[in-house]
């Protein structure tokens, strides 16, 4: 029997297959070169804020697995949880889901990464936790999954407001910038220093974090003394709280009350002038960090941002990119 036609057929098949499954090389945030087979149709996302972003690109079409901290938009509830976070991925489940790409953040261990790569699943290390480079990260992810157009729209939306904040706060002198004390994780006087996303956002929004210089290489989250806060006399106090479900307005007002009622702070400017705010940790990073930035900018400089309603912008963003109606509270107190 003449085998030649069969060989030709096999060769043709291989050619066609490699043609349709083209592989591209991308450099991820850690500088590793990752080879990804395109088109990417199935993604498991464990990176901070990444699932929320991916959903905005394709309405969740590609997302087959997520981390448990990603719960916006509500439609993500239908996506399998493939690990609590990058720190504890369910490797077996991920391999079973057979994704074309896993996006995890820096908490993924070397061993887990190797395990996934041995299963021929490419892993990109990306997270949207740092406002300084989140636009670049968004562009990189969009390129890999082939949704540049939709991504450009979203980035346009974000940059419009970021630019607006930069423009309006550019002319501020150091004296015009309020001193801010930022508290998080629900422990009194637990704060953030230089190099944390919250500190960066405070800077972007035109204010100075009073604990900016208190961190060091190993600890960016110092606990400070109440006495020092009183002495430094911040103009604004912001607390951020996070949860594994959306926070309600009643939660936020409770947190607010717990700061305002601290007897030792009674004489601090922020308390006396009613400039104490609570913001949900859900919008501290990722696609919606720009909303945090808007809230803060308005709190820091109410005159400069009179025309801006962060809540309305947030609603617009949710409507436009997530087809979601927002009714949860994300900041307290708000004017509207």
């Amino acid at each position: 029997m003449d085998m030649k036609p069969i060989y030709v057929m096999i060769c043709l098949c291989i050619l066609v297959c490699t043609g349709c499954a083209e592989s591209i090389n991308v450099i991820d945030s850690t500088g590793r070169s990752v080879s990804v087979q395109t088109p990417v149709n199935k993604v498991v996302s464990l990176g901070t804020g990444v699932a929320e972003y991916l959903y905005a690109l394709d309405e969740g079409k590609r997302l087959v697995g997520r981390d448990s901290y990603s719960y916006f938009p509500p439609a993500l509830e239908n996506v399998t949880i493939a690990g609590k976070s990058s720190y504890s991925p369910d490797l077996e489940l991920i391999i079973k889901l057979d994704p074309d790409l896993v996006i995890a953040d820096g908490m993924l261990s070397e061993d887990d990464m190797k395990e996934l790569e041995d299963a021929a699943i490419p892993v990109m290390i990306e997270s949207l936790s740092n406002p300084e480079n989140e636009i670049d990260t968004m562009k990189r992810i969009a390129q890999v999954v082939g949704e540049e157009e939709r991504s450009a729209k979203l980035i346009g939306f974000i940059e419009k407001y970021q630019d607006l904040i930069r423009e309006r706060t550019a002319g501020l002198s150091l004296d015009d910038k309020p001193k801010v004390f930022f508290e998080w994780a629900g422990k009194p006087y637990y704060t953030v220093s230089n190099g944390t996303s919250s500190d960066t956002l405070i800077g972007y929004a035109g204010a100075i974090n009073i604990a900016r210089d208190l961190g060091n290489k190993t600890s960016k989250y110092p606990t400070v003394g109440a006495e020092w806060v009183i002495k430094t006399n911040p103009d604004v106090i912001i607390q951020t709280r996070s949860s594994d479900k959306p926070l309600q307005e009643s939660d936020l007002s409770k947190f607010h009350e717990s700061i305002v009622s601290r007897p030792e702070l009674a004489d601090v400017s922020a308390i006396k002038e009613g400039r104490v705010y609570v913001i949900s940790g859900e919008i501290r990073y990722g696609v919606r960090s720009v909303i945090s930035e808007l809230y803060m900018a308005k709190w820091f400089h109410p005159d400069l941002f009179k025309d801006i309603d962060p809540k309305a912008v947030h609603k617009e963003l949710a409507q436009q990119f997530y087809a979601a109606n927002l009714d949860e509270a994300y900041a307290y107190p708000t004017e509207s």
């Binding site: 901290y69 994780a185 009194p188 110092p222 003394g225 020092w228 949860s243 004489d267 940790g281």
Partner: protein
């Protein structure tokens, strides 16, 4: 009192009888102990007086003391509202909390070591601290507990502390196990509660896990006058009773049989002392979180200096514990100011070298 001490004391006594002046000798021993008490009391007062002037708020020594005295003699001293807030609202609460918490934890440790006749007995090795942690974690992560509202965490840790104490004691009493085995039971309970806490940390979300970790590290920063009043009240009731019972505890140290033959109700003394120790510990750590090491090391330091007679050991441990915790907290809030370190780190840093020093010098008389 242990057999070593008994022998040591006997030898000394025989020596003094030989010289024919037992009373004088006894007075001398008593004098030494009183001197030790006096030194530690002065050190605590001095340290408290010094600590109250430390802080970020740039108050001068004069401002601080004017603020303190103005409370008692409002006509004679002028103070500002600012100084008043800092001194009365922050510093004094914290300093006094350090003193009473140090006292309570050390007395509880000393009493437990005495009645269990075991140098390793402390709120950690008996599983009491980890039970308190679990109670707090349950409240933080699950929002579940015995009492509601803002006392959820406090109430939970308090109740779990008592549960663990009774569990350890129940094991000892109904299975008739020895004090040595009791420590083993305590350690088993510690592991059980630690595992349950770890599980809760695993299911909890990031912010809750943070809160549990903070709770486990302990802090005097949450001190208020109400909390101080509660702890002081508990101490004021428990400490005199324990000191009153110290002859009985001494007798237990010589062996249960000996104690019984001396007419001591061993079971009763052990139960009551255990309950009081647990009550003191619970009332402190439910407000401060777990502060390690004080309850173990302060009684040992005291024992090495003034011996194992509980009449002196209990109040002595209280004073040493107060000094140690106050010193540790003062360091923790000043060395990296305005950043505040967890006090548990400093208690070990301060306590261990001193402990080792004494251990090397006076090994033979130890325990």
């Amino acid at each position: 009192m242990t057999s070593h001490d008994v022998q040591g004391a006997d030898a000394r006594q025989r020596e003094s009888y030989k010289h024919g002046r037992p009373k004088e000798e006894y007075q001398k021993f008593l004098g030494k102990k009183m001197l030790f008490f006096l030194i530690i009391i002065l050190a605590v007062i001095l340290l408290a007086g010094l600590a109250v002037t430390f802080g970020s708020a740039n108050l001068s020594v004069k401002d601080v003391y004017a603020a303190i005295l103005a409370k008692f003699l409002p006509g004679y001293f002028q103070t500002t509202h600012f100084a008043d807030t800092i001194v009365w609202g922050l510093r004094l609460e914290r300093i006094l909390m350090g003193i009473v918490a140090g006292m309570g934890l050390s007395v509880a440790g000393a009493a437990m070591q005495g009645i269990l006749k075991n140098p390793l007995a402390s709120e950690f090795t008996l599983g009491i601290s980890s039970a308190a942690c679990f109670g707090a974690a349950l409240a933080i992560v699950m929002g579940a507990g015995f009492v509601g509202g803002e006392y959820l965490v406090i109430g939970n840790s308090f109740i779990f502390t008592l549960i663990a104490s009774f569990a350890v004691y129940g094991l000892a009493k109904y299975k008739g196990i020895t004090p040595e085995t009791m420590i083993l039971a305590g350690i088993a309970i510690m592991y059980l509660f630690s595992a349950m806490t770890s599980f809760l940390q695993y299911v909890g979300h990031a912010e809750q896990v943070q809160e549990v970790v903070f709770w486990m590290m302990g802090s005097l920063g949450k001190a208020t006058w109400e909390k101080l009043a509660i702890i002081t009240g508990v101490l004021a009731i428990c400490l005199p009773y324990l000191i009153l019972k110290s002859w009985d505890i001494n007798a237990i140290g010589a062996g249960d049989e000996t104690a019984k033959s001396l007419g001591v109700d061993v079971e009763r003394t052990r139960v009551i002392s255990m309950i009081l120790g647990a009550l003191i510990t619970a009332s402190i750590i439910c407000f401060t979180g777990t502060i390690g090491f004080i309850g173990l090391v302060a009684p040992h330091i005291t024992r090495m200096v003034i011996g194992g007679d509980h009449r002196f050991l209990l109040p002595g441990s209280a004073l040493v514990g107060a000094l140690l915790l106050l010193g540790a907290d003062t360091l923790a809030r000043t060395i990296l100011a305005p950043v505040i370190l967890p006090v548990g780190i400093m208690t070990s840093f301060l306590g261990v070298p001193f402990f080792v020093y004494l251990f090397m010098r006076r090994r033979k008389e130890f325990w």
